[in-house]
Point group: C2
């Protein structure tokens, strides 16, 4: 068995999320179909985490067990890309060590949430950024964002679903930055993220900004440890899984194919 | 009659270009339908120029003669945007003076051509940038781009079609710039552009870069004054009409609605 690591990028618009499901195109299902065609047997891929329907990925990381060595393995990336739809691409492939696991070895992730903050919606960013018409106060949003940094219980920002051992996570970077034109990028990096945590955080921060909330309200939402205390969930189409980080020692053992 | 000026932005992917044609969605046709619905009679719009099928616009400028003053004219932009598809948006409306003409008054335009220059194609830029896999030599491309600046006969870069009085145009800015990630932007500003001139210029410059051409070859193509001398036409989907400029005196006479 050869363990193979892939970096994927996708436009989430036309996918029903990451997870395979019958009768609907998903990222996992599409990738597994292409791999099955190459290896002539079913292949199961493990991703660094699921993404919701409509959410994009600049860099998603997956691994799978290859049942054999392909004749022209060095052409793996090119061959896969010729089978994948235009909205999905394999950006690189590595032969990974046995102890590499796309989900369990991931020790940090960065997500980006894009906001189109202009007087009119954007024709070019319509499926790739949330449209917010009123002028956002970035200084205020950044004062709230600073509060997210640290080792904290994010229970209030977890959409219920898969049970988890702990809702404590570490966020070490979190910031709103103005890009060109009317584009604003919120980026957040942390040790891991609960279900829809980024969308719940962005939705809550935007709600507090819109409704003249303050830092104490945000602190109270954290303290409540209750999803009902948090505000709206920001829509999926502004969200991008941006980068997945693994321990450097493990990265070094991955050999580019 | 009230002359109204609109600024439009659109994602050209799903439009069969600017110009109205029966049985196919076009930018002009879509805008005219929305205006006809608002004014309850046919409206004809004049654009600053046509864009090809697949070509995008960050800022296209149009004008039309409004047969009456709408009851709530201040809501014109909002009302139009509620009728237009997601891939098209009116970014602003002005009451224009009688001597304003979207096409004839335009005295300068900027186009941007986006290139995804990475080892693999992009899932997120697939309909918005040309994919070029080999690493482009930007210094060389910029040495060619510098040659385009000036008052020159661009006959070799004109796709035949509508006859024009002269094929001489003035280009006053022209440059390739590296953006974030693998994105490269070629921008060109000039007094006017012949049919498919930007696509023919980009196609020729990329061809010379790819095939170890030189400045003398570019000069020979100019000197030939023949479309056959130029090289390939770059695809439409990397091109954006970026900005249209009018004399400041005329801009000042346009009153924001």
């Amino acid at each position: 068995m050869r363990k193979i690591r892939l970096h994927l990028s996708y436009d989430g618009t036309d996918f029903h999320g990451w997870q395979k499901q019958p009768g609907a195109p998903t990222v996992q299902g599409t990738l597994e179909s292409a791999l099955a065609q190459m290896y002539q047997e079913p292949i199961r891929v493990i991703g660094s985490g699921r993404t919701d329907a409509g959410t994009h990925a600049v860099q998603q990381v997956v691994h799978f067990e290859a049942p054999k060595t392909l004749k022209q393995e060095e052409r793996l990336v090119r061959a896969l890309n010729s089978m994948l739809p235009e909205t999905m691409v394999v950006r690189g492939a590595w032969l990974a060590p046995a102890d590499f696991h796309a989900l369990y070895s991931a020790h940090r992730k960065t997500y980006v949430y894009r906001i189109w903050n202009g007087p009119t919606r954007s024709a070019l960013w319509n499926k790739r950024a949330l449209y917010v018409p009123h002028e956002l106060n970035l200084d205020f949003l950044n004062s709230l964002a600073a509060e997210l940094i640290g080792h904290k219980d994010f229970k209030s920002f977890q959409t219920t679903g898969t049970p988890v051992k702990t809702t404590v996570r570490t966020v070490d970077h979190c910031r709103f930055v103005k890009r060109s034109g009317h584009l604003i990028e919120f980026s957040i990096r942390g040790s891991g993220f609960l279900k829809q945590m980024v969308r719940n955080l962005v939705g809550t921060l935007l709600h507090l900004e819109r409704n003249k909330g303050d830092l104490n309200q945000l602190r109270a939402i954290f303290a409540a440890k209750n999803r009902q205390a948090a505000k709206t969930t920001a829509p999926a189409h502004g969200l991008y899984l941006y980068r997945v980080y693994y321990p450097p020692a493990l990265d070094k053992k991955c050999l580019k194919i």
